[in-house]
């Protein structure tokens, strides 16, 4: 069978795929490395839309396919029954020509970030094949595998690409979660994790001239921090606003962090929103979407809105953007 993948920017990728093979694997065999993670039909990273051709879907988690699109597939579980044309929800630039590197990294530090969240710093171990550098685009994530397990989790990088191999993460401690439990109870400085990446297409459109607004809550701040640090590093001059949401004040981004961002990016405006504040909270009282709505009411021209958060928050933001009707663009990453 002949498979044609059509990227969001209209590029076509063609390759053969046997009736018994999965489209994702056939793409990789042809040298096209598509965004994907679990390869088991459970993470939803390889979701795409079939525009023509019959196919079969192997075992997968139906929750990963939107009910509204009957032609949605997970390419890691999709086998062709005819020649197929498949629309990919990302640009050609996100399709890599090489397998994503898998490397070893050692825990360098592990500290509480704020209530219920840890700041984890890893150092990539130099090896002859990949060197020592931490190369990624601000907004991307790495997949971490716990020592001697198959437990894999994806976390966004909060720092900037660097030549020293440093990887900073903000990780929410989920009560009872496998990774959280390990991180909270067992992990020690010096432990070695397997890291695969960089991955993900949640990155800045730096060619756009629109004002930028970043919306994040909790650990959804990590990729946004990386993007803001990058804009500061490059002395970007476009109007930039950050809406940060937390349930309680104790979960709020530390003031020193905000000061550091503003020192590098003087035009940065901030709305700090707390939905269940104690008495005396001076900032916005409400959720991150409500804070964004209030901000957009007084904002003029069309904006690029970068958001990272749970699916529900992203749905609300999408409605907000539609309602405002200014042609804002929502660039989102689901937590």
């Amino acid at each position: 069978m002949e498979i044609t993948l059509v990227t969001r920017d209209g590029e076509q990728l063609q390759f053969p795929c046997a009736e018994t093979d999965h489209v994702l694997g056939a793409a990789e065999a042809a040298g096209f490395f598509l965004p994907a993670m679990c390869h088991e039909g459970t993470c939803g990273q390889c979701r795409a839309h079939v525009s023509s051709g019959d196919y079969k879907m192997g075992q997968h988690d139906p929750a990963m396919l939107p009910a509204a699109d009957p032609a949605a597939v997970l390419l890691c579980r999709c086998t062709p029954q005819q020649d197929m044309t498949v629309d990919l929800p990302y640009d050609r630039a996100q399709v890599l020509r090489y397998r994503v590197p898998v490397r070893q990294a050692v825990i360098e530090s592990l500290e509480p970030a704020w209530q219920g969240a840890m700041a984890l710093t890893l150092r990539l171990q130099p090896d002859p094949e990949t060197g020592a550098a931490a190369e990624f685009s601000p907004g991307q994530y790495m997949e971490l595998t716990l020592p001697v397990t198959d437990v894999r989790r994806a976390y966004s990088l909060a720092n900037l690409p660097n030549w020293e191999g440093r990887l900073d993460f903000l990780i929410r401690l989920k009560p009872g979660g496998t990774f959280s439990t390990w991180l909270g109870e067992q992990a020690e400085v010096g432990d070695i994790l397997t890291v695969r990446g960089p991955l993900g297409s949640f990155v800045l459109d730096e060619v756009s001239v629109r004002p930028r607004c970043f919306v994040g809550g909790g650990c959804g701040l990590a990729p946004i921090l990386s993007m803001l640090r990058h804009l500061g590093d490059f002395q970007d001059s476009q109007p930039t606003h950050l809406v940060f949401g937390a349930n309680r004040e104790a979960e709020m981004l530390p003031a020193a962090e905000i000061d550091a961002l503003r020192a590098a990016l003087p035009q940065l405006g901030t709305t700090l929103a707390v939905s269940q504040p104690e008495n005396g909270w001076q900032g916005f009282h409400g959720t991150a979407p409500a804070a964004l709505e209030a901000y957009l009411e007084q904002a003029g021209e069309a904006m690029d809105i970068y958001a990272c958060g749970p699916p529900k928050m992203l749905e609300v933001l999408e409605e907000l953007v539609q309602k405002r009707g200014r042609g804002d663009r929502l660039i989102a990453e689901q937590l």
Partner: protein
């Protein structure tokens, strides 16, 4: 009136190329025939692309005393023929080909990349962090080096893997600027007079990705063995890795240099015309020029301003050349759009026989 302005631009460009030639040869010495390695050597590596010899010089200074190897790419290939640059033990060879292949070639390069003045295509995620720009080049979110300080490029080279092994040595011969060619002018003139060299083809200009550019590969391959191929610009990568043999003790393929070394090519043509006591247009020389962007258009205007006729232009003509304009170029300057390599070679040889 407009035509006069355009030709004035061509004359101005001639002066500019003359100044650039004086600056490059004055600073780095007169280009000499040089074998350039085109296979990698094991170790940390930096790739420098574009046209700017000064940027390359600054990078070679920055890695002085280290084991880091510096490779040229695209239009910087001729840098190896300048003695003062070639003297650096860090300058290891040329990697890759012309600018339009950069996305594949840069992605596969195991070290930082510096793009000096030339066409930069959207840097791909695979190498976006390790590409740097210098001079007039820039891209949002890509680090720009404005002060000639390449310390962070050296840092990147040390952090990146470099080439794991040394591949068997392969070389190509370059460095036939006007001094090298005119230095053997006697041999060249004898070869023409004795009939062992029937014709000269200057196949050069800018390369691009569009189909139809195989014409230049075909042209170089199909040109009879008793003809000499001169080349310049990045169009040469269509055929410069092949062995074209020798003729009368000279290599059949003579690489003059970068596109702006069209200055050198003109000097060669003028000197040969003088030796043969004829005009440039009477020499057994055909110019087969590939066009891509404004730089090539400026060089073409220079040739026209100097009265060079019968230039074959391709692979497709610039969109701004309306049918009326093209007629003017055809009638006044004998510009010829290309047809097929076979037919154009035959037509050129007939002209020289006539």
């Amino acid at each position: 009136m407009l035509l006069e302005e355009a030709l004035a631009l061509g004359r101005l460009n001639f002066t500019v190329m003359e100044m650039l030639d004086a600056a490059n040869t004055g600073t780095y010495g007169v280009p000499a025939p040089t074998n350039v390695r085109i296979t990698p050597v094991a170790g940390k590596a930096i790739l420098v692309s574009g046209h700017d010899l000064l940027d390359l010089h600054n990078i070679l200074e920055a890695v002085k005393g280290t084991d880091i190897k510096v490779y040229t790419h695209g239009e910087l290939l001729p840098a190896h023929s300048y003695p003062k640059l070639a003297a650096s033990p860090n300058l290891a060879g040329n990697y890759g080909s012309a600018w339009q292949n950069q996305q594949l070639e840069f992605a596969a390069f195991p070290g930082p990349i510096v793009m000096t003045s030339n066409c930069l295509i959207e840097p791909q995620p695979m190498y976006r962090n390790r590409i740097f720009t210098a001079g007039p080049v820039g891209w949002p979110g890509v680090r720009h080096i404005a002060d000639g300080n390449y310390a962070q490029v050296v840092q990147a080279a040390n952090a990146l893997p470099g080439f794991p092994e040394t591949l068997p040595e392969k070389t190509i011969l370059i460095g036939f600027g006007r001094q090298a060619v005119l230095g053997v002018a006697d041999k060249v003139i004898d070869a023409v007079k004795s009939g062992s060299v029937k014709h000269f083809f200057l196949i050069g200009g800018c390369d691009g990705a569009a189909p139809g550019r195989n014409y230049y590969t075909d042209f170089a391959e199909q040109a009879p063995k008793d003809t000499v191929l001169l080349t310049l610009g990045c169009g040469k990568f269509r055929f410069n890795m092949e062995d074209h043999g020798t003729i009368g003790g000279l290599p059949r393929l003579l690489d003059i240099g970068q596109c702006n070394d069209a200055y050198s090519a003109v000097q060669i043509a003028l000197a040969l015309a003088k030796a043969f006591d004829c005009g440039v247009n009477d020499l057994p020389l055909s110019l087969v020029i590939s066009w891509f962007e404004q730089k090539a258009a400026a060089v073409l205007l220079t040739l026209l301003a100097l009265g060079v006729r019968n230039v074959r232009l391709g692979p497709s003509l610039p969109a701004f050349l309306t049918p009326n304009l093209l007629n003017v170029l055809v009638e006044k300057f004998g510009i010829q759009p290309i047809t097929t390599a076979e037919a154009d070679i035959a037509a050129s040889l007939n002209r020289s026989a006539a």
